[in-house]
Amino acid sequence: MPLSAQPAASGERYALSASLDNARHLSSLLRAVHFQDHATCLATASGLRVTVEDAKCIQANAFIQAEIFQEFSVQEESVMFRISLSVLLDCLTIFGTSSLPGTSTALRMCYRGYGYPLMLFLEEGGVVTVCKINTQEPEELLDFDFCSTKVVNKIILQSEGLREAFAELDMTSEVLQITMSPDKPYFRLSTFGNAGSAHLDYPRDSDLMEAFHCNQTQTNRYKISLLKPSTKALALSCKVSIRTDAQGFLSLQYMIRNEDGQICFVEYYCCPDENITEAEL
């Protein structure tokens, strides 16, 4: 059964149908937001957005633009469903996760609409696998109401400077404290763990700093366990933008270049931690 150009039978219209030559373009991005079992998928003409939330205070979105796909068509204005992200990832990587040079898994995704399962056709080396994953009623998603006009502080950093820092965060600390300021220490990540406190300072003139727009000194704390999964997105990305608004909501946007050089985005939004205690120096 050829994967490409499977003509829909008359009367059958897929609400969503998409083809991708290299399923890794999708699976690697989904892994970067895989900190909960379930995700909400939203497909529009511009592409696919996969959202994962936790504890009503953190939300991660993976964006795969329509241009990344070889074929992408959405019948209605938008199509939305909830699905097990763990199962979806297992299916996308059913031929294994190690990437041998020259081989890739081709993907065709079809969704008939509300109440129907998501169909995946995966092919590698002449072997075809068909997966049917049940979909659920989409849940209401958080709206962080984060728009560029409300941004107080914004920094764009090269990811290589943050990767090690995030991988080595002191997980015995309950919070990750982020300080952004037009004055010293400019940009500081702090943890308060069992051994003591640790501070990571990035000066505004560091060559890692691509953009520095801080208008106000802000210090906010976020639950470290919620932010730690963003390390995966950081590892994939080449640049990250860090923004906060007046309420201390945090937006992390990761620019990810895939194997073919195409750009995708992953973003994390996080609420500040309500328990405010004096920061140690």
């Binding site: 003591g196 990571l200 990035y202 560091s206």
Partner: protein, 364 residues
């Protein structure tokens, strides 16, 4: 140092920064003394006329956590600044990394008494000096889980390393390492029978890998069984000592410990603390006659802690509920090394030689 103890003692002195560790059973002690020249800048702080330079101890894991990934440290860190801030109760470790990034770690510390082993390399009957690689090659023949090894000397300058394996039938067998090409074996200064010393191999393995990496020759000072064995590494900017207690030889227990003129001392009575005092007093008298300069960092006796102010003793943490209640830890430590000499025929506390500092990294 982390193979030996869970706590790292930091003591800035005029002659450099001393990092020390001791194990829980007080049978192994190591110190690394970094001379001022090792550092770009070394300011030990000023001690008042009565006060000593501040010293502290931190949890080994906390300290090591700062230097977690050595390969990436080498690539990204330019400078490390260590600041001891007594008033803030913080030991500050600041890493200056590339791209202008600064990592500051504020570690909590505890004040502590002076950690010091009493030993004198000059008074050891035998001394052997070899590149660490040679010793490592000998040790590699033994199983990695080895807890004890016997170091022995024989006629003609032969050195043997022997382990001891007891199987169910109670038989013993062992691996004797062939005599490697040792260098610079100093013949015993007193005529002593072939001496054997046993020590915990785990602690020694850590020092061996350090010695190999730093390419320094290793010197082993040893004496008869029961007396501590001392491994030293010397460099222009670094002095390393590893002192291990040894098991006294039960076979030779009938011999009175005749070296260094301690045989006339009384056997310990039930009042251990008092006897220890008199024993130490006698030792100090006899030590006064010995030749050779005392080790600059580790004086033979510890006058300062003995004269320490009462308030400092109260601040001391009770590290071990010991067999000698009420005695400050440094005396307990000395008693461990001399214990087996004082009580011939009865193994000292050093016989509880379990593997002390587990190798968490699983290196072979």
């Amino acid at each position: 140092l982390s193979r030996i103890g869970d706590e790292l003692y930091l003591e800035p002195t005029e002659s450099g920064l001393s990092l020390r560790a001791v194990n829980s059973s007080r049978s192994a002690f190591a110190s690394f003394l970094f001379a001022p020249l090792f550092f770009q800048l070394y300011e030990p702080g000023s001690a008042g006329p009565d006060a000593e330079l501040f010293r502290c101890k931190v949890h080994m894991k906390s300290f090591l956590g700062v230097f977690r990934s050595l390969p990436s440290l080498e690539k990204s860190v330019g400078k490390c600044l260590i600041l001891l801030k007594p008033r803030a109760s913080r030991l500050v470790l600041q890493l200056h990394c590339k791209h202008g990034v600064t990592k500051t770690h504020n570690l909590a510390f505890q004040e502590c008494e002076r950690l010091q082993a009493v030993f004198d390399t000059q008074r050891c009957a035998s001394r052997l000096c070899a590149p660490a690689r040679v010793l490592a090659e000998a040790v590699v023949h033994f199983p990695p889980t080895l807890a004890e090894v016997t170091l022995g000397t024989g006629p003609g300058g032969r050195i043997s390393l022997r382990n001891y394996v007891e199987d169910e039938a109670g038989e013993s067998c062992g691996v004797r390492s062939p005599s490697p090409p040792w260098g610079a074996l100093q013949p015993p200064t007193h005529p002593v029978p072939p001496s054997r010393a046993e020590q915990d191999d785990g602690d020694r393995a850590g020092l061996l890998s350090f010695a190999e990496a730093s390419n320094l020759p290793l010197t082993i000072h040893f004496d008869e069984p029961g007396r501590p064995v001392i491994f030293t590494l010397d460099d222009t900017v670094l002095e390393v000592h590893l002192v291990l207690a040894t098991l006294s030889d039960l076979e030779s227990s009938s011999q009175s410990p005749s070296t260094n003129g301690v045989s006339h001392l009384p056997a310990p009575s039930d009042d251990f603390a008092d006897d220890l005092e008199s024993y130490m007093a006698a030792m100090e008298t006899s030590e006064g006659c010995s030749e050779g300069p005392p080790s600059p960092t580790f004086p033979l006796h510890t006058p300062r802690p003995a004269q320490s102010k009462p308030q400092q003793q109260e601040e001391e943490e009770e590290e071990e509920e010991g067999a000698v209640p009420g005695t400050p830890p440094h005396k307990k430590f000395r008693s461990l090394f001399f214990g087996s000499v004082m009580t011939p025929g009865r193994p000292g506390p050093a016989t509880t030689q379990e593997v002390l500092a587990e190798d968490s990294d699983g290196e072979s």
